[in-house]
Amino acid sequence: MAVSTQGDIGRGLDGLAEVSGRIRGAIESVIEGKPDVVRLALTVLLAEGHLLIEDVPGVGKTMLAKALARSVDCSVRRVQFTPDLLPSDITGVSAYNQELREFEFKPGPVFANIVVGDEINRASPKTQSALLECMEERQVTVDGTTYVLERPFMVVATQNPVEMEGTYPLPEAQRDRFTARISMGYPDPGAELEMLDVHGQSSPLDRLVPVAYADDVRELIEVVRLVHVSSAVRQYAIDLVTATRNHPELRLGASPRATLHLVRAARAHAALNDRDYALPDDLQELAVPVLAHRLLPSSEAQLERRLPEQVVADIVERVPVPNPRHG
């Protein structure tokens, strides 16, 4: 539909629509009644980001992570975070090989295309921070040697709300590295009934076969990078982020990395909507999942039980959409 001078992006978008449609269909065969969540997960995947799924136990966080991982034919590793998990359990260790008489690097679970970190906030902060380097720089340094991670690389972490027992809150730096945080929410009664029927016999996850190759995903990521973000939209992203920094109800605003993530996610969102340019609408839709988990409410806001999500929604309501001609 789009009139574009960039012919490849036009074709790329067609391919993207097809592949993403397949992946979405696959995930939705497992996670029923949550199209928004699935869509956001896909957005984060295409934006080369990491996804944090936060919710109470038992609503399908792990299921979503595993379904996403399994629908793409790529390496998937799952890490169950527990309080006694060590950093080396994630990154891998150098072990002494008796035969070769040298240290040999045994890659940890982080060496995969999709890493599912289950209940990430049950691990100690030290272990959590082991993920920091690999998430941002897509590399692991062990004993002075740096190993580059494969692409695509995506961490899908699940966590329980902080108030739950036996949890450590994620450090700000770690949270900032997640592109988006989503919460699953309880399924609606119809979907839950259907789930009972399906899950009663066998896990749908078992029947899930990959619908795309890792190469496909890499290609899609390239297509997303071509999506046009006009200066007005970029300005809008900055306006939104700046508003979080000046907001009286927030102690900590969003970082420049948040701006980056926001625009990147907006690209993916636009591409998923078959558009070769990003809109303020994309930013508006993504602002809460992308920004809210990075923000710290001020003590007044905490007293009033104002959640960062509400503050971000307020900001979206208030910041005017830039019109390039009206300045």
Partner: protein, 817 residues
């Protein structure tokens, strides 16, 4: 202190409205002195912090001291302390003033008694106002005594108080309210800033100044409207008419003249009275049968009935020494002085116009009587004629037929303007009838004679007192063309009207016939002798009486036909025609009377028809140029926003490269295509066009009161509008196209070139109009808010400027301490 001064000033300004009560302005000085005395008393009482009741007592005592000092210092102790003698003197003065006030209508001669009354009145109001405003802090209530003072002249005088006096009084009262309010704000002590002054005002200046500026704005606007509005609304024109048609009493205008009964109504009643009571008796030195006794001259035909123009109750028209103004137009006609001594029966009530022969020259009568110089009607605003005896010197005008026939057609302009006026309601048939009946008569006089003959001699008309008094012009037309039955009122009214259509100045006179002569030589006039007759104007003879009503047994019993109004031929010879042998003195008249004898002798004859079409000033107020201008202005003002909006729209499209296409083009039609050959790169033009469409959409949405949010992208806006308004598919599609074009123009690397935008825009506008209430729809069409924004900004700037100016001018001197 400041409030006291303002209260005194307000009383002074309001008292100016008393000026019409007095014939000189000397009352001003003692009146103002009284105000100052009251203010001083109030200040003193507050200085010593006396209790509230003492305050007003002190004011009253001060007033007493003041009038003692001014009017009876000789009798007073030390010139100031009242003694029984001085009080007595004051009482006598008041008595005298009361008598004068009762004797004369306003303006009354200003003697010491009247002056004392005025001074006391003003002083009491001043004491009250000062007490209410300063002591009780009830500035609004102080308007009541001020209004009472203002309404005295307004009630007494027929013409209300001049607008200047009203303006002064209103401004005084406004000032009082303002001073009181700003005083209160200052006492509150918390500045209230308007947006301008929040930044600009020095901090130590309390916000009362800005508040006062707003107050001035409101107050001055209100006063201006109060003064200007009545001048464009006919009903409450200061010189309101109290014509006698219809209501008769000029509802609440408070004029003394209005107590006169409708003369035509009373005429009918008197004629129909069964007892046939004696109204008046008189003696006269006239040798022949005396003239009619006239009371009223009805000079206005208002379209339905004859009335008289409201009498101007000015200073100049009291009867001064009994001499009356000269009768209009009377020059060469032979006259004979007549003295008539008239005694009105005591039982006669409400007779405020004196019956007397026309034209009166001199009158000796007791009481407050006035004369209307134009009609020589003598009337009173307070006295009645019942029981009075008065003596009138009058002239008996005896023009010859020749004189009348050769009289100039050219009456003075003041006569023709007033007495030829025919309202537009009078149907053309009346005019034709008059022409038909007088076609053979060469001169105006002969036409008049022919008219009278038609009424009295043709046998077509019948005197019938049972007919209803004519209420509308249609009744007169019916009388003239169909029923031909009526009494003197129909005859007189019709003849006067017909005469006017022929170009003869005419009016209807009312009064009594000469009556019947008693054995002792005096004349007795009874109520049945009440009569109406036409008076026609001929240059040289002035107003002369005609008698169209049948007389004698079959008509008005005591009516008499004046000799000059008889057809010349009929009086001289039984057979009409050229065979008549006129007496030498009448040869000129007979020659003129001969039909068609000397057509060239009256070169201005053809003008007769034209003469009837003289100025018609009473053609309805809504046709006056001022009103047309006002209406046009209103229409222009109403249309300005609409026009502006349309122009803006056109300009927007033209800038975006759309040619002006009239008519309804559908989306995608070739006519919508922008002119080719533009050098601009296509993307830029597409962007401009999308922008134009979007701006227009926003304007339309705002005009139709649809919410417009700045935090919405084009896409979100169009979705919300479509859902909110439940647009149909076509309009939704158009809206979507506009939104998409704008979205791509803003955010996409390459804008979409949508050609149907202009048609889409129109579609959407129409859809908007359909989806909102009719009120909103018409508001959007006639006064689109988008166009008003500009006006509003300009008005805001203007008001700011005024505010700045007023505040600068009225900034009170900085206080010490």
């Amino acid at each position: 202190m400041r409030l006291t001064a303002v209260a005194a000033a307000a009383t002074l300004l309001s008292s100016i409205g008393l000026y019409p009560l007095y014939d000189s302005a000397k009352w001003v000085v003692p009146g103002f002195g009284a105000v100052l005395a009251a203010a001083a008393a109030g200040l003193l009482a507050r200085r010593f912090r006396l209790p509230v009741p003492v305050d007003i007592v002190a004011g009253l005592v001060t007033m007493l001291l003041y009038v003692t000092v001014v009017y009876t210092p000789a009798e007073a102790l030390l010139g100031i302390i009242p003694t029984p003698a001085s009080l007595n003197g004051l009482n006598e003065l008041l008595d005298e003033g009361w008598q004068v006030a009762n004797k004369y209508a306003a303006p009354v001669p200003l003697g010491p008694g009247v002056e004392l009354m005025g001074t006391l009145g003003i002083g009491l109001v001043a004491v009250l106002v000062d007490f209410l405003v300063v002591r009780l802090r009830r500035a609004a209530a102080a308007g009541l005594p001020l209004l009472a003072m203002y309404s005295v002249p307004a009630a007494v005088r027929e013409e209300s108080v001049s607008w200047v006096a009203f303006l002064l009084g209103a401004v005084g009262f406004m000032g009082l309210l303002l001073a009181d309010s700003s005083e209160q704000v200052n006492g509150w002590g918390r500045p209230v800033f308007t947006r301008r002054w929040s930044a600009a005002a020095p901090r130590e200046q309390p916000g009362a100044a800005a508040l006062a500026a707003t107050g001035y704005r409101v107050g001055l606007t209100a006063v201006a409207i109060a003064v200007l509005l009545p001048t464009v609304i006919p009903g409450i024109h200061p010189r309101g008419m109290f014509g006698m048609g219809g209501a008769g009493r000029g509802g609440g205008s408070g004029s003394a003249t209005v107590t006169t009964l409708d003369p035509l109504v009373s005429l009918k009643r008197e004629l129909a009275r069964q007892d046939d009571a004696v109204v008046l008796t008189y003696r006269t030195n006239a040798t022949e049968r005396p003239d009619y006794l006239r009371m009223y001259a009805l000079d206005r035909f208002d379209g339905d009935r004859w009335t008289y123009t409201p009498l101007r109750n000015g200073v100049t028209n009291p009867i001064d020494g009994g001499a009356l103004p000269a009768a209009a137009g009377l020059s060469f006609a032979p006259t004979q002085p007549v003295n008539t001594r008239i005694r009105i029966e005591r039982r006669v009530r409400d007779m405020t116009f004196l019956p007397m022969p026309y034209p009166p020259v001199q009158i000796a009568v007791e009481g407050d009587w006035r004369v209307d110089p134009r009609s020589l009607m003598v009337y009173s605003l307070r006295d009645a004629a019942g029981g009075r005896t008065y003596s009138v010197d009058s002239l008996r005008v005896q023009p010859t037929q020749a004189q009348l026939a050769t009289a100039s057609d050219r009456a003075p302009a003041d006569i023709t303007v007033r007495y030829l006026d025919i309202p537009r309601q009078v149907p053309e048939s009346v005019r034709r009838l008059a022409m038909d009946q007088t076609a053979d008569a060469p001169s105006l006089y002969e036409k008049a004679v022919a008219l009278q003959a038609w009424f009295t001699r043709s046998g077509e008309f019948t005197y019938d007192l049972s007919k209803q008094s004519p209420k509308h012009v249609s009744d007169l037309v019916d009388f003239l063309t169909r029923s031909k039955r009526g009494y003197c009122e129909q005859f007189a009214a019709s003849m006067a009207l017909l005469a006017r259509t022929l170009g003869i100045p005419a009016r209807v006179a009312m009064g009594y016939t000469a009556g019947t002569q008693a054995t002792d030589g005096s004349w007795i006039v009874r109520s049945r002798d009440a009569h109406a007759w036409p008076e026609l104007y001929f240059e040289g003879a002035g107003w002369v009486r005609f008698e169209p009503t049948p007389s004698g047994v079959v008509g008005q019993g005591t009516a008499s036909v004046p000799p000059y109004s008889e057809p010349a031929s009929a009086s001289e010879a039984p057979a009409p025609g050229a065979e008549a042998t006129p007496t030498p003195s009448e040869s000129a008249g007979a020659a003129g009377a001969s039909p068609g004898a000397t057509p060239g002798a009256r070169p201005d004859d053809p003008d007769l028809a034209g003469g009837a079409e003289l100025p018609q000033e009473s053609g309805g107020w809504w046709l006056s140029p001022a009103w047309i201008a006002v209406v046009a202005l209103i229409v222009l003002i109403m249309m300005a926003p609409m026009t502006l909006a349309t122009l803006n729209r056109r300009r927007r499209w033209r800038r975006a490269g759309y040619t002006l296409v009239l008519g309804h083009a559908r989306p995608g039609e070739a006519s919508e295509r922008p002119p080719p050959g533009r050098d601009e790169p296509v993307p830029q033009q597409a962007r401009d066009r999308a922008n134009a469409a979007w701006t227009q959409l926003r304007t339309d949405a705002i005009d139709h009161r649809l919410p417009w949010r700045t935090n919405e992208s084009p896409r979100a806006t169009s979705r919300r509008l479509a859902e909110h308004l439940r647009l149909d598919a076509e309009a939704e599609g158009a809206l979507g196209r506009i939104a998409l074009a704008e979205e791509r123009a803003r955010y996409a690397p390459v804008p979409a070139d949508v050609e149907s935008l202009r048609a889409d825009s129109r579609l959407v506008r129409e859809a908007f109009a359909r989806s909102v209430s009719w009120l909103t729809r018409w508001r959007a069409r006639l006064v689109p808010p988008s166009a008003l924004i500009g006006f509003r900004q300009a008005a805001g700037r203007a008001l700011d400027a005024i505010e700045l100016l007023v505040t600068r001018l009225s900034r009170p001197p900085r206080r010490r301490g």
